[in-house]
Symmetry: C2
Subunit: 243 residues, 2 copies
DNA sequence: CCCAATTAGTGTCTCTAGGATACTATCCTT
DNA sequence: AAGGATAGTATCCTAGAGACACTAATTGGG
């Protein structure tokens, strides 16, 4: 009776060690590599988490990393799973689904704030690592008391998670455009040019929007309010579906 | 009285020619470069739209492209704007906002299906090119008859557009995992391993989900139904906000 | 009519990244 | 102590973005 042969990438994701104790002992392990890569990405963005830089930060040559991670793509998958496990208190509690799902979304947003590069990742499939599953599980648990079937539940969790990621992207994009005086001057020129280019005859609604003072107050705490607006909107939608 | 000096990237986005007719006439222009890049990305993905390959497809050296696009990053921005302008019939019509916004979302989804690489792009700010503005304008116009203020309108348009993009990503991710027999075998092993790894004690809800037959029917037309489910959910949410 | 300014496209170089392959170093087991 | 197994290294290759100095093809002015 053979055990099912777990694919090697899955084994690494779940940190299933091969139990061998022969040969030269390792200085590195999957966690060391992944943690170093996450530290680099947290500091300087996903593009900074290159194999040479990760190796250097570990005091090792880049090729040695391949003993532990298989490929760059797999490293990114490992990083994505390892970064920001779900907080324990998401599992407990037993309030109404709307509150719990909202709290789950906030926790997700918090994770994306701590690890901004997560918003750059492309999801290639269902969650398959321990932390990905844990987040997914927590999302499903938040909706336990709703009357929805599995299908709608899964879709709802995905919609909320997509929303959070989209907002994180947007916030990061806006935050990126906050530099010195040159930046401000450039933005002014940009704004003026845009006002001239968005012809009211061609783009009546967009022109009316730009002419309004909607974009006047882009303060710091509007971000939180914007986030809540969309989240409430989606939760209203869920409530409508759940009857 | 000077005209406002339009930043050069904006000038290229809006195809404002510099009106000069001196010197050697150009074989290339911005559109030629951008169209070639889009063709490559449509065929083989965003990663295939490299400067060398674009240059080769135009019968020119890669450095000549810099006469027309400034940088790779700018080329991508130009591609994003140029790909798939909004269909004309989105502008006409005067139905209820819910139908119009739904139609707008479907049109967006259609665009992402024609140009899958658009789903890989990171939005770095508000739309600024002619087609980006046109899509945005069409989205706002769809909501004209709603009673929402500009702020909620803008956020709603963004939420819907984010949703469409998220679903496109997901659909593409699933579609990518449809290969030959090896693929099927790998997926089977994967599924078995996952079933063993997702321990019901640790992940009760996720385990219950995987144990159900929710993922049994992943047929082709479920995709469209899934899309509609989320879209209706969001539109319900908008309706709730619009009272 | 020709020359000089102007603009288009080229050739060559550098830097950085991911990764293949063959190697050496180090340890455990027998 | 020997030898097999595993960890980490040295050296190579490919590919992409882009800097820089070059040549080529125009046109407008003297």
């Amino acid at each position: 009776m053979d055990e099912a042969p777990v694919p090697v990438e899955l084994a690494r994701l779940w940190r299933i060690s091969s139990e061998t104790r022969r040969g030269r002992p390792a200085r590195l392990d999957v966690d060391a590599v992944v943690d170093a890569a996450i530290a680099l990405a947290d500091r300087d963005g996903l593009a900074a988490a290159t194999l040479p830089k990760v190796a250097e930060s570990l005091g090792v040559t880049k090729m040695s990393l391949y003993r532990h991670v298989g490929s760059k793509e797999e490293l990114v998958a490992l990083m994505a799973d390892a970064a920001g496990p779900p907080p324990a208190d998401l599992r407990e509690g037993d309030g109404p689904w709307r509150e719990r799902l909202g709290a789950w979304a906030e926790a997700l947003a918090d994770r994306l704030e701590r690890h901004p590069w997560l918003a750059d990742l492309r999801v290639t499939g269902p969650p398959s690592g321990p932390n990905g599953i844990a987040w997914f599980d927590a999302g499903l648990r938040a909706m336990r008391r709703s009357r929805l079937d599995w299908g709608p539940k899964v879709r709802t969790v995905m919609i909320v998670s997509d929303y959070v990621q989209g907002m994180a992207r947007l916030a990061q994009g806006l935050a990126a455009g906050r530099g010195g005086a040159d930046q401000a001057a450039a933005e002014l020129a940009y704004g003026k040019a845009m006002a001239a280019l968005v012809d009211p005859a061609r783009f009546p609604d967009a022109a009316a929007l730009f002419a309004s003072d909607t974009f006047a107050d882009t303060g710091a705490d509007t971000a939180e309010a914007d986030f809540r607006f969309g989240l409430d909107l989606i939760l209203d939608g869920v409530a409508a579906q759940a009857d």
